[in-house]
Amino acid sequence: MSQSEVEERLQMMLAEIMGVEPATVDRSAPLFRGGLELDSLSAVQFLAEIEKEYGIDVAEKDLSLACMESLARLAAFVAKHTGGS
């Protein structure tokens, strides 16, 4: 599972939650202030979708949620923690 595969998938998941075209979701922009301006409930839904798809509870593994800086950073975190066999 490469980071760019995960990035693309996360971009689609987030686009669906936001109701926009995936291409318009900037992967390196901040998820929150000064970027995608994701609200807290959408963020909860996003993490729940990630858990459903990748089996990883991001909030458990990264208590400070530092990885939620941007889509790219989050994808790197998810890719790293769903190691290949």
């Binding site: 202030r33 409930l41 993490l47």
Partner: protein
């Protein structure tokens, strides 16, 4: 268990031989049982919602309820061929209530037993007890607030907006903007105390510290000159939603500390938490504060508030005790926070 947590939030009625005498599908000319409208009204005034779970033909049954003039009492009525547990699950999803908040009244012991086994958290009553419901403790609220009496219309506004959301073709942002959400943030007054206490034990989701505070405690805070207690009152194009958010800030000793931040479960996803937090951050900055702290205890149910603090760049300041409690901090030097673009905010301190 604390009695106040055992209240029935929604009573689900079977129809045939429960709400009315007779069986509609067998051609009976059904008539409401004595006192049913008064009982519906009395419970409705106390903030108890009503719904229906009935094996029947929807048009027939709902029309008949309309003819009796009581259809409006029932939210998310389930009339059809699904079994009772399925109908009850649909009601709990539709209203956003937990199963333990629901109760079924039904004349058929087979149905009551099926519900007891399949969805065991749901309380069941035989239809013969319908006249006794209003005097049972689980149907008596701890306090009747003005909000309680209009709970049904708040749910109706909320259900209307949920339907509008499903019908909307467009981005979530443009949908939120189209809702004309208006949040009023103001200082809590003594007559907000009961509603705040009610909100505190009703919320299981966006409650930052997941603790319960009673009216006495809330009243102390409102009167405390060292504390700022703010309520968030929400309305949108579907109606008024009343007081849906609370924040309590302790100002002395500095730095300021958010002790309580909560939003009603039904008002999540509208930016209420964001609005309240933005106001407090900007206000603290105005008053010369450089940091803002927030108490937070992680629970399985309050992910939304965890994400809220994260989205506003609150990070860990210190861990408190061993029950997963933390104090978070936010650096106020990064400039003013804007309100969410879809939210019109009015403030008065």
């Amino acid at each position: 268990m604390d009695q106040s947590n055992n209240k029935v939030k929604c009573l689900v009625w079977d129809l045939d031989n429960t709400l009315w005498e007779g069986i509609l599908l067998e051609g009976d000319r059904v008539e409401l049982k004595p006192f049913v409208p008064e009982i519906l009204h009395a419970l409705d005034r106390r903030g108890v919602l009503h719904s229906i779970a009935s094996y029947n033909i929807p048009e027939l049954a709902l029309n008949r309820l309309g003819e009796f003039g009581i259809l409006e009492y029932f939210l998310c009525p389930q009339v059809g061929y699904e079994n009772k547990p399925q109908q009850i699950l649909a009601i709990s999803r539709c209203l956003g209530l937990r199963l333990k908040d629901l109760a079924l009244i039904d004349d058929d012991p087979f149905q009551r037993e099926q519900v007891r086994q399949v969805v065991p958290d749901v309380r069941t009553y035989p239809s013969a007890e319908y006249r006794d419901l209003t005097s049972k403790p689980e149907f008596q609220p701890t306090v009747v607030t003005p909000e309680a009496a209009s709970r049904r219309s708040l749910y109706q506004s909320s259900l209307k907006r949920d339907q509008a959301e499903r019908d909307f073709v467009g981005s979530r942002l443009s949908f939120l903007i189209s809702c004309n959400l208006r949040l009023t943030i103001r200082s809590a007054r003594v007559n907000d105390v009961e509603r705040i206490a009610e909100l505190v034990w009703r919320t299981s989701q966006l409650n930052a510290t997941a603790q319960s505070y009673d009216a006495t405690q809330v009243r102390e805070w409102v009167r405390d000159p060292n504390r700022l207690v703010l309520v968030g009152v929400l309305s949108d194009r579907f109606g008024d939603h009343g007081t849906v958010g609370v924040v309590v800030v302790r100002k002395e000793p500095r730095p300021w500390l958010i002790e309580v931040l909560l939003v009603s479960c039904r008002a999540l996803g509208r930016g209420v938490g964001e609005g309240l937090l933005t106001f407090v951050l900007n206000h603290a900055r105005d008053k010369g504060e450089q940091r803002l702290l927030a108490r937070y205890r992680r629970t399985a149910a309050n992910r939304a508030v965890q994400l809220l603090y994260r989205s506003y760049e609150f990070y860990l300041y210190t861990v408190v005790g061993d029950d997963d409690s933390r104090v978070l901090e936010c650096d106020l030097g990064r400039g003013l926070w804007p309100y969410p673009s879809w939210l019109a905010v009015e403030t008065s301190l």
